[in-house]
């Protein structure tokens, strides 16, 4: 067990090193001249010179890479060309945005997993009935629906027509709530983007869970449990669902990348001040230092998530531990 985790950890670190290098060169080969971009962002020559100096942009490429690596290792992500949320320090801005994204994605993912699991189990249990066909078709439709389209549908329905939820943002502008009221205001803004992402991902989990459960329910050990007189509920909770979590964990891990990608669309559409929207803004402004920082953070988050899934596998599937 310990050896397996150590090995996974080593490979995770190697992957991060590759990502760091890739991250640097990717932005140097992107179209657009750095100086014109900076010129557009700032007005005074002095500020422009300072920015170029700071990023080492006038030096040879390899030297720039050296500076980049050195800064990264000392936790210095550099200065952005533009200012976001009242700061242009890349790390400060990113750190300020992370909680919003993490809370939104975590809630959406949790909603999707729980709802998908329940729907999948119901479908498998009632398979070939009308209920199963209906839920399965619904899941397939959700699975293949584009995020932006569904988001606009929700905004149109719940915000523009029914006026139940605010159209976007994190807090109601112009109001200064404190304590509990502030939390409630935050949640009210989060519900719609969370449901949007959660419902879209739910379809995928429901389909996976359904097919896995159908396979498991015909296994001999389920029949054995039935013959021993255990109730359907007990068999589902103690035998079938725990074993179905192994393929589910794989799908959840694979989905991580898609979720981070989806966050860019989702946060932009709902003006949710998270990492995704930051990336979108930075991309529009060709803000290399900021983009680099965002990419680095999301890549590390992905690798970390994969590492954690690998570790978790050992607990879900005892056969893997050896």
């Amino acid at each position: 067990m310990g050896k397996r985790i150590l090995k996974k950890f080593f490979f995770s670190c190697v992957t991060i090193v590759f990502v760091v290098a890739f991250n640097f060169f990717l932005f140097r080969i992107m179209p657009g001249n750095v100086e014109t971009i900076i010129a557009r962002a700032t007005t005074t020559e002095a500020v422009k010179q300072r920015l170029i100096e700071k990023a080492g942009l006038h030096r040879p490429l390899l030297e720039q890479f050296w500076i980049y690596m050195k800064d990264l290792l000392t936790g210095d992500f550099g200065e952005a060309f533009n200012s976001y949320d009242g700061s242009s320090n890349v790390l400060t801005v990113i750190m300020g945005r992370i909680p919003n994204t993490v809370i939104l994605l975590f809630c959406a993912e949790l909603f999707a997993i729980i709802a998908g699991l329940i729907i999948g189990v119901i479908c498998a249990q009632k398979r070939t009935t009308k209920l199963d066909t209906g839920l399965l078709s619904g899941s397939l439709v959700l699975y293949s629906m584009p995020t932006f389209w569904f988001a606009m549908l929700l905004i149109f329905l719940f915000c523009a027509t029914l006026h139940i939820f605010p159209t976007g943002g994190i807090f109601t502008p112009g109001r200064h709530y404190y304590g509990m009221a502030k939390i409630l205001d935050y949640l009210k803004h989060m519900i719609l983007p969370m449901l949007c992402m959660g419902i879209l991902m739910m379809g995928c989990y429901a389909i996976t869970m359904r097919s896995t459960m159908i396979n498991i329910l015909t296994e001999d050990y389920i029949n054995t449990a039935k013959a021993k007189g255990f109730s359907t509920r007990y068999i589902l909770l103690h035998h079938a669902i725990p074993n179905a979590m192994i393929p589910m964990a794989t799908i959840i891990a694979l989905n991580m990348a898609a979720i981070l990608g989806g966050a860019i669309q989702l946060e932009t559409l709902f003006s949710w001040q998270g990492l995704g929207q930051l990336m979108y803004d930075a991309l529009n402004r060709r803000d290399y230092p900021m983009l680099q920082g965002c990419f680095f953070i999301s890549a590390v988050a992905m690798i970390l998530a994969n590492f954690l899934t690998d570790v978790l596998y050992g607990f879900i599937d005892p056969r893997i531990r050896e």
Binding site: T224, A227, K228, G229
Partner: protein, 332 residues
């Protein structure tokens, strides 16, 4: 006198075969008759072997008796009570168990051996304390020769050999002290060297606790060795049923004779030619009008292809499904 434990009458299990979408719209669905009118009875502590080629419906018969597949028709009376269609099976479930062919699939890979064996005790509330449960598990593991029990307590199925797994599976079924155990080819997936041990373990349980076995096998010599009664199955139908001696020494049905002809007998070298059955077993979903065996029977007559034979009792308890028996008995 022996008491009647199980009475199966005209048991039928039909599966509807799913076909293509177009076909499912037009025309009626194809029906696969996995079990087509099986009848037999079993006394307490008796062993009845169900022998037949693979696909003859042995497993489905056992599952139908245990109410693990939907029963199309017929009746199953267990301890004097009709089981088919009964709502509350909880008492029946405690008294009738099944052992599967493949111990790699019949155990939940996530559970510890002690939980697999002891689970029915807690869930069915057969014990009230943990100590009592552990004691019963210890006993069961010892009986199954998984000793010392502590060595197996916190092991999972994948850490055990095939034979050990099958012992654990059997121990988990026997711990509820059932009256009937349907054992579906329990040793066919195991190495020959460990089969004897497992069979001995099962027979010992019969001798000590009076468990009755419905023993499924395709090995006629093994059936002869251990059973009181043998039933020969072909295409969902019993061809011949009788005491082990009736079947092996005094076989009447051409199919039984063909099986006996290819049965290896210890100490006998092969001399002369063996009669080997020609042709293949037809698909269970094909419609056969007359006798199920008519397509491969060397003595097939006109009537065989037209009407189904009835069971003819040639001696008490020895029944044969064959038209030729009728002539024989009428000739006498």
């Amino acid at each position: 006198m022996s008491e009647k434990l199980l009475e199966v009458k005209d048991l039928k299990v039909y599966f509807e075969m799913k076909k293509g979408f177009a076909q499912s719209l037009f025309g009626k669905p194809e029906v696969l008759k996995a079990v087509d009118g099986v009848s037999f009875s079993l006394d307490k502590g008796e062993i009845l072997s169900l022998v037949g080629e693979s696909g003859s419906g042995k497993t489905t018969t056992a599952k139908a008796i245990l109410q693990l597949v939907p029963v199309t028709g017929g009746s199953v009376v267990f301890n004097g009570e009709e089981i088919v269609g009964k709502k509350d099976l909880s008492e029946f479930r405690k008294k009738a168990q099944m052992i599967y062919q493949d111990p790699y699939q019949s155990l939940n890979p996530r559970q510890y051996i002690s939980d697999i064996v002891g689970e029915p005790l807690m869930v069915n509330e057969l014990v009230s304390t943990i100590e009592e449960r552990d004691e019963r598990i210890r006993e069961a593991l010892e009986e199954a020769a998984l000793v010392p029990p502590e060595d197996y307590w916190f092991r999972r199925p994948f850490e055990l050999s095939g034979g050990q797994r099958q012992r654990a599976a059997i121990a988990g079924s026997l711990i509820m002290k059932p009256d009937l155990v349907a054992a579906d080819e329990p040793v066919s997936m195991l190495d020959a060297s460990i089969r004897t041990g497992i069979i001995d373990f099962m027979l010992k349980e019969r001798d000590l606790k009076g468990v009755a076995y419905l023993f499924i096998t395709h090995d006629l010599s093994l059936a002869w060795l251990i059973s009181d009664k043998i039933a020969i199955m072909y295409l969902g139908k019993i061809m011949e049923i009788g005491s082990a001696a009736d079947i092996v020494k005094n076989a009447k049905h051409p199919y039984t004779k063909a099986l006996l002809d290819i049965m290896p007998i210890p100490g006998k070298t092969l001399t002369g030619k063996r009669k080997i059955l020609e042709g293949e077993t037809p698909n269970a979903s094909s419609e056969i009008r007359g006798c199920k065996f008519c397509g491969r029977c060397p003595y097939v007559m006109g009537i065989c292809k037209e009407t189904e034979p009835e069971y003819i009792e040639v001696s008490p308890g020895h029944q044969v499904y064959c038209h030729r028996m009728k002539e024989e008995t009428e000739d006498e």
